[in-house]
């Protein structure tokens, strides 16, 4: 049976891209919160949680909400506050709104899982933010997104819509990994050199755990690994699912499919810009440490924002990002 490609509305392409982005963001937030909780230093909780605010560029947002910077407030800000556009409930709400528009395209199973997941997250009880309940909550949220990802992998029709979905997922994941790496910049360490070394090691391990890369890293790293090895792993190891390089490579692949399989020629400009990002990833990490990393990551984030905008103007036409997404993606 010969099937011709069915057309994809620009609005639906945009919806798929953003649905995937929001869900990926939810998973990463849950990871970050989990790790922050697990590795918060006794007596310095506020500092640990402040780093979370900093890497999401949410300092001003928190102030706008009239919230003092305390561990409890930050947890609420991200897990309960639907008015905070970067919170888990708000991101999930946005994902579901997109999914609702996409219901003719996505599978019934995708919709149903998201619908139920959304309802559960909207009903998070403040008591779930305390003590050991928080880690359980984060795991449930992670698993909610992972269930979505699995159902999508197994049921979503793989025509051009799927490529846009994957583009959204990969660009968000790349962006989140750069933010995660940047957490180090926001965590100041004091004390003797040996004390600092130990604390830093713990912090880098936490970063690896947040990215689900701790054990994989151990397999590839020397016993005497240093910060540069962790950074290189998270940025450039193309075997690691959340590395920026792997995400960028995936984006390249999906864009190429859109160009060759669906004749979308406007992919050329995006692909060119993506090559610049790849080039940045080839820079030797050693040179960036210890002081150049933050600026470098800033640059990487800006390039990814550019790529997102190019995708938007090329395919979504009336591309007007929502205010909140602008705040997140451009507030670097």
């Amino acid at each position: 049976m010969s099937m011709q490609h069915s057309p994809l509305l620009t609005r639906d392409a945009e919806g798929l891209f953003w649905m995937a982005r929001y869900l990926e963001r939810v998973e990463n937030l849950a990871r970050l919160i989990d790790v922050t909780q697990t590795f918060e230093s006794p007596g310095r909780e506020t500092e640990s949680w402040s780093a979370l605010v900093a890497i999401n560029s949410d300092g001003p947002g928190l102030q706008e909400h009239g919230m003092e910077v305390t561990a409890a407030n930050i947890k609420r800000f991200y897990l309960l506050d639907a008015q905070n556009p970067n919170s888990i409930p708000a991101c999930l709400e946005a994902a579901r709104t997109n999914a609702r528009k996409l219901r003719p395209l996505i599978s019934t199973e995708m919709w149903m899982q998201l619908n139920v997941f959304h309802r559960d997250v909207m009903a998070i009880d403040p008591s779930e933010l305390d003590g050991d309940a928080l880690s359980r909550l984060c795991r449930q949220i992670k698993e909610g997104v992972q269930a979505h990802t699995g159902i999508t992998e197994g049921t979503f029709f793989r025509d051009q819509g799927w490529h846009f979905y994957e583009l959204g997922r990969q660009i968000e994941r790349a962006d989140q990994t750069t933010r995660l790496l940047d957490i180090k910049y926001h965590l100041l360490v004091s004390g003797t050199e040996e004390e600092r070394r130990v604390v830093e090691l713990t912090q880098w391990n936490a970063v690896l755990r947040a990215a689900a890369g701790y054990h994989a890293f151990r397999r590839v790293a020397d016993a005497g690994f240093g910060p540069a090895d962790v950074v290189a792993f998270l940025l450039a190891d193309t075997s690691f699912a959340r590395s920026v390089a792997l995400c960028v490579g995936q984006m390249d692949r999906h864009l190429s499919h859109l160009r060759t399989d669906y004749g979308l020629r406007d992919t050329v400009g995006v692909l060119e810009r993506l090559e610049d990002v790849s080039a940045m990833l080839n820079e030797p990490v050693q040179r960036l440490l210890p002081f150049g990393l933050h600026d470098y990551l800033d640059g990487l984030q800006r390039s990814l924002v550019d790529v997102g905008e190019l995708i938007g103007t090329a395919f979504f036409r009336d591309w007007r990002p929502l205010k909140q997404t602008q705040a997140q993606t451009q507030g670097v």
């Binding site: 057309p7 609702r100 149903m112 846009f164």
Partner: protein, 490 residues
């Protein structure tokens, strides 16, 4: 081990039919003779399941609907709330012979509606012949002068039609209302069947039922048929007002079943009097639009200028023959409740046939005799506004208080042409699961007909049931639910 009690009382599962009483009404399940024993079998199976299990399973089934998002949206002051159309697990059964009559009756009615529309927008024979008052037609708010002299393919204006049918205490069918604009509810017909098969396979087992799955394919092929002439592979779309529309789920359902894009006004644009949709690969021609947007909102350059739902220039493209709209513009004049009163005469006039499905006796308050009769019998009649839908504005005389009757009378006198009245029909009932067990609740039936070149009627239709005791209002917006409707194959 010590027994807890000397007499080990096994709790008996209550027979759900123990206290069922359909009173003076015609019961769709228990007053059966011509169904080959199907209803009796269902009854037996329901009894075997027992009331508790029935309740538990019905609850799970409804939760399923909610999780699946098979919902309609109700708007309160502050929030949009997703609600399911309550699903009653006791099916409504229509024997093959009854269905044959309904099917012919609906087909006849759709044919007459289309002939009527073709006539009033072209030759105006029927008003010249004095069959129906000209003022009622051409002065009607839903009459669209834009349609005059405009040819439509196969003479079909009403491509999708829902005809509301009721049954009186003798089991006689009659038509209560025609829905020739953008009737909704068909998605629930299909989803209710799927739910029935999932949640109550033991009720359905072995029953020879006419399938309902074919609706999407039939609709798609009708939409292909009516595309502008000469288009080989027409692009069909479904035009929806978007996620905030209460029937959005149905729009999703139909787009998916037809395999066509679900578009909103902003996805379409008109250039060179042709309609295009915005795709990742650029603009792409659209040939047939199944629109679920009312006439008024279709094209801000022709109708309501403030409409953001429609597409500027759409009517122009349509008049140039470059796109087909389903249903056509201006069909609202045919399903008006005052025009409804003339339907038996309209059928006779065009088809030279008697109506297979009779009308409910209707008094047109815009006419002096009708008004006088209605005013004199307010307490016995059902008074309805002509242009409303959704069951709003209705006063059921025999059930109304003195104050409600007075209020209805005041409205009626202020604008008689806006009202009709009908005798109260003792709508048939069916056993329906309630907190008190199975109870008799009133219901109606909305069969759906699709017309391209020919008319096809979906076997069955949407059985809407008034869940409130004694209520005759079955609309979902007013506490109605629905039942799976089984048309027996033999």
């Amino acid at each position: 081990m010590v027994r807890a009690a000397l007499h080990n009382q096994v709790p008996m599962t209550a027979d759900p039919f123990d206290s069922y009483d359909s009173g003076a009404y015609y019961c769709e399940l228990t007053a059966r003779a011509n169904d080959g024993g199907a209803a009796a079998l269902v009854r037996q199976r329901l009894s075997a399941i027992g009331l508790d299990a029935l309740r538990a399973r019905a609850q799970l089934a409804e939760r399923d609907l909610f999780n699946l998002g098979i919902t309609f949206t109700v708007y309160s002051e502050a929030a949009a709330i997703d609600r399911i159309l309550p699903f009653d697990c006791v099916p409504r059964i229509i024997p093959a012979a009854d269905w044959a009559v309904l099917e012919r009756g609906v087909t006849q009615r759709v044919q007459a509606l289309n002939l009527f529309l073709a006539d009033i927008y072209n030759g105006r024979r029927i008003t010249r012949d004095g069959i129906i008052p000209a003022a009622l037609v051409y002065g009607n708010a839903n009459y669209r002068p834009e349609m005059e002299g405009f040819p439509v393919r196969f003479g079909t204006y009403v491509h999708i039609c829902g005809i509301d049918v009721v049954r009186d205490h003798n089991g006689m069918f009659s038509v209560l209302e025609d829905n020739a604009r953008t009737p909704s509810g068909v998605s629930y017909v299909v989803e209710n069947r799927h739910l029935m098969l999932r949640a109550f396979p033991d009720l359905v087992a072995g029953m020879k039922l006419r399938p309902v799955d074919d609706y999407g394919r039939r609709l798609r092929s009708a939409m292909d048929e009516i595309a502008p002439e000469g288009v080989g592979d027409p692009q069909v779309v479904l035009l929806s007002p978007g996620i905030y529309n209460s029937a959005y789920f149905e729009h999703v359902f139909l787009a998916r079943e037809m395999g066509v894009p679900l578009v909103e006004g902003l996805d379409l644009t008109v250039e060179d009097d042709k309609v295009w949709m915005r795709t990742t690969g650029g603009l792409r021609r659209v040939h047939t639009i199944y629109r679920r947007i009312a006439d008024d909102f279709l094209d801000p350059s022709v109708f309501r200028p403030d409409s953001l739902l429609g597409v500027r220039g759409l009517i122009g493209a349509w008049r140039r023959g470059n796109v087909t709209l389903a249903n056509a513009v201006g069909t609202g004049v045919a399903d008006d409740k005052a025009v409804y009163a003339y339907m038996p005469r309209i059928i006779k006039y065009y088809l030279d046939q008697d109506a297979i499905l009779p009308n409910v006796e209707t008094h047109i308050c815009g006419e002096p005799e009708g008004l006088a009769f209605t005013l004199a019998n307010m307490d016995k009649l059902v008074v309805k506004p002509v242009g409303e839908s959704g069951g709003y504005g209705i006063t059921v005389g025999p059930r109304a208080s003195v104050a409600e009757l007075a209020a209805a009378r005041a409205l009626l006198v202020a604008d008689p042409a806006n009202w009709i009245s009908q005798p109260m029909i003792n709508l048939s009932v069916a056993p329906t699961l309630t907190d008190a067990g199975l109870r008799a609740r009133h219901l109606d039936l909305r069969p759906f007909a699709i017309t391209g070149r020919d008319t096809w009627v979906l076997p069955g239709g949407l059985s809407r049931v008034a869940l409130k005791e004694g209520s005759l209002i079955v609309n979902s917006s007013q506490g109605g639910g629905s039942k799976d409707t089984w048309v027996l194959a033999e």
